[in-house]
Symmetry: C2
Subunit: 490 residues, 2 copies
């Protein structure tokens, strides 16, 4: 019996019995895997999905459910927002860099409207309602929202702001019910089943199987510890997710996020990356991470965010994921939110999907000097920061960080501060290098025959930055490409 403990490729000649055979074998039944399976099946080939857990869903079904789409989708148009692929490309190039895969970004923007229409055709519903308040997600079932700081500095001066966070309709969702990610995954999985896609659950990928020419012809897996060998006549699609829960890889490639995985699932153990690396697959942007700031954006936008030295460093009206990245990556994971009593009361009156975080500030004080002292900041640091902010805020401007005038108000006493040190978490964005057909690229630049990948097992449209919806976005988009290409068996 061929062993399954290694991640090295197994020779097909060593396999005695194939437990399953299909034309296309998709590994992982999240959004990338579901889209790959649908397109492969629709190409007319026999398609089998292997899934490690007991059912479809993956990280996608647990997620908020944003898909980042634009360029003039019917939903954008219906809600009165102008957008073009070129405008979207300008934004994504600036916001997801430096070092973005320009070809992938261009391709993704050009194909975005078609991809929206395709999702709708697979049964994914979007409600024609816009949510314009600060936040990570709408509080209810609104279908469109700014989800990457498009309408905040510096990007509102780079590209025309358009909301591109498209959220699958959760149909009068109430707190605690299934979110947008589930509502996205359910119709996709149903469509796949209707198309005759088969699945095997509780199966964990262990190794890739190659023929004597080096072509990938199957996967070695285990089910409850017992080996399972699956033959792929045309291609294998890796859709196994990120390495956010493979602690050694995180420590070696993205150590700042070590110990703080969030918005991810434990199944994201990097196995898809490692089995492909063992075949000489190339990687990209292994340090890149999505980082959430775990604080209610409706509160944050009404205060000022300062670092461990009491200095402002990012405009508080931008996408909160940008704040998270800035705090973890550039500010040593140190941040405080300063807010006065009036602003806090106003924030608490608003709707938000994160209103469960509405607790009292860590420190409250009658004066800035007192607050500064309670926080343990050196004398005058916070006082200077607030003086500078107020000096301009009295004119309704923020020339320092360009917060939009609607959010600029002088900070007065009494006031308080939230201790946000360590309030960040996220997932990894780096992974296998793929081409526009989702073929996994060897380090020599050529595709590895028979091997395709999509979703967070790959380096997608993100390099350094992030916008909510990019992972379900490029996962579904390049998942489809993987399914089409694998069915052809290039």
């Amino acid at each position: 019996m061929a062993e399954t403990a290694s991640v090295r490729p197994l020779r097909a000649s060593e396999v005695e019995t194939w437990d399953h055979t299909a034309d296309v074998v998709v590994v992982g039944y999240g959004v990338a895997g579901a889209c790959a399976a649908i397109e492969a099946a629709r190409s007319g080939v026999d398609t089998l999905v292997l899934e490690r857990t007991g059912g479809w869903g993956g990280a996608a079904a647990m997620s908020g459910g944003f898909i980042y789409l634009g360029g003039g989708t019917p939903l954008q148009q219906a809600l009165g927002f102008d957008d073009t692929p070129e405008n979207m490309e300008k934004f994504l190039t600036a916001a997801l860099g430096p070092g973005v895969d320009s070809d992938k970004i261009h391709d993704y923007c050009q194909g975005s409207v078609e991809h929206f229409n395709w999702l709708v055709a697979q049964g994914v519903p979007f409600k024609e309602e816009f949510w314009g308040e600060p936040g990570y997600e709408p509080p209810a079932d609104q279908g469109l929202m700014f989800s990457g700081g498009e309408n905040a500095a510096p990007f509102n001066a780079i590209a025309d702001p358009a909301p591109r966070g498209h959220l699958a309709w959760t149909k009068d969702k109430k707190l605690g019910e299934k979110g947008g990610g589930y509502m996205l995954m359910e119709p996709l999985a149903q469509t796949a089943e209707k198309l005759g896609v088969r699945h095997e659950y509780d199966i964990r990928l262990r190794r890739l199987i190659v023929d004597d020419s080096g072509r990938v012809v199957g996967v070695a897996a285990t089910r409850y510890g017992k080996p399972v060998f699956v033959r792929a006549e045309r291609g294998v699609v890796l859709a196994t997710g990120s390495f956010a829960y493979q602690h050694e890889m995180v420590e070696r490639f993205a150590p700042k996020i070590f110990g703080r995985p969030a918005a991810t699932v434990e199944e994201h153990d990097g196995i898809g990356i490692r089995v492909a690396q063992a075949l000489g697959a190339d990687l990209a942007h292994m340090d890149a991470t999505e980082v959430a700031l775990i604080a209610d954006p409706q509160v944050v936008v009404r205060g000022i965010l300062v670092n461990g030295r009491g200095q402002r460093f990012i405009t508080e009206d931008t996408y909160p994921g940008r704040m998270g990245q800035a705090i973890l990556q550039d500010q040593d994971n140190q941040a405080y939110l300063i807010i006065d009593e009036a602003a806090l009361e106003a924030a608490f009156e608003t709707q938000s999907s994160m209103s469960f975080l509405r607790i009292a500030p860590t420190w409250v004080a009658e004066t800035v000097a007192e607050l500064e002292s309670e926080m343990g900041l050196p004398e005058h640091t916070l006082q200077h920061t607030i003086d500078l902010y107020n000096h301009h805020a009295e004119q309704g401007t923020d020339p320092f960080l360009h917060k939009k005038p609607e959010w600029v108000k002088p900070i007065s006493a009494p006031l308080g501060a939230y201790d946000l040190r360590g309030y960040t978490g996220g997932f990894t964005l780096g992974g296998l290098r793929t081409d526009l057909d989702s073929q996994v690229l060897h380090v020599d630049g050529e595709p590895i025959p028979g091997l395709y990948a999509a979703g967070r097992v790959t380096s997608g449209i993100c390099a350094g930055g992030y916008a909510s919806g990019c992972s379900l976005g490029d996962g579904s988009f390049y998942g489809r490409r993987a399914g089409v290409a694998a069915a052809k068996g290039n």
Copy 2:
């Protein structure tokens, strides 16, 4: 004829004629290669070094020449500095992280005194003189210096400060003469020759050659475009340097340093990393970079360094490479140095290896308000920064960033500012994952038989941070290990 354009491993059975054969084949004749060759030859095996250029040297011979050593070296002791391996380990763990390879750091610190003695035994001279001024290097031939911010915040509160930048003696060096790196390399190359190490120059690595079991048994190279096949009976040592000049890899893994290589050589094209990746070799810390701030530290320490928003962010008396990293990685590559006339005059009277950078400030002004305006900073930003600095400086303290009292003086008018935006450059620190015997590790965690690596082709003791001397340090240290292990042919 087997082709040499790919980086994929070549089967030994495809090689018709071996042009050269040795027990150990070392690729690259910089510091890691020289040390590997010496130790292999001393183990009694036939050793051949292949070098891409026309002679030994590599980036090492062009460098300033610091080797980062400590734990109580004879040079440290002779100059009155206490140090222990444990103290050194505390510093390196803090300064080179997050995500350092703890085993490697521990091993390196424990072996540091022996390594110093070994270097001396190979003929590398060190002058018993300490240089205690701020800078990247001593201005002349002094042998010991702080080279990583050991005596500055925050590290002076974490470990007992000890200087560990050991500089090979340049013997009354004058400006423009060979530097410490050359004086390090010359005795190492001479020692290698004396031990019978052979070399072939003008030979470029193209592919690794493996036998049917997957063991590395040689390299396929080219000389002036013509294929050369070299058989290694016991092992191949990769010592080919970083990927700082492989622009696509830089863009994919370390995009912030893209377009700004410095303190590196064009031969650093990542080929050693790629040929090993093609065998399934694992990587680590591919985003990590050394970053120099191209400004005279004697000037910088007497001013205040501010970011693009006019805020201080790092103590100006630390290792200037930390400033470079902070500027490029965390401050969007934006920095200005603010300095008053009296401090600038004092700086210009000092000795420095970078005094060639002593030009007039970009802007000068009679008041802070005027300077702020000339620099195009929002009103009050710089004024608040200087007010805060002066408020504490008048008491001789810097509770904000903990600059040492000796460097803390209030800033007065007239004053000026240097525009340091974009004044950064450096080289990559990520690469192949190796064990303590310098065996290249496969992604499954096991060594790749017959393959060893050291120097900047590997991920060494650095993860996120850097100290001057770490590259010649771990390159020479693990170069030796590679030579010893390859000679055994594990």
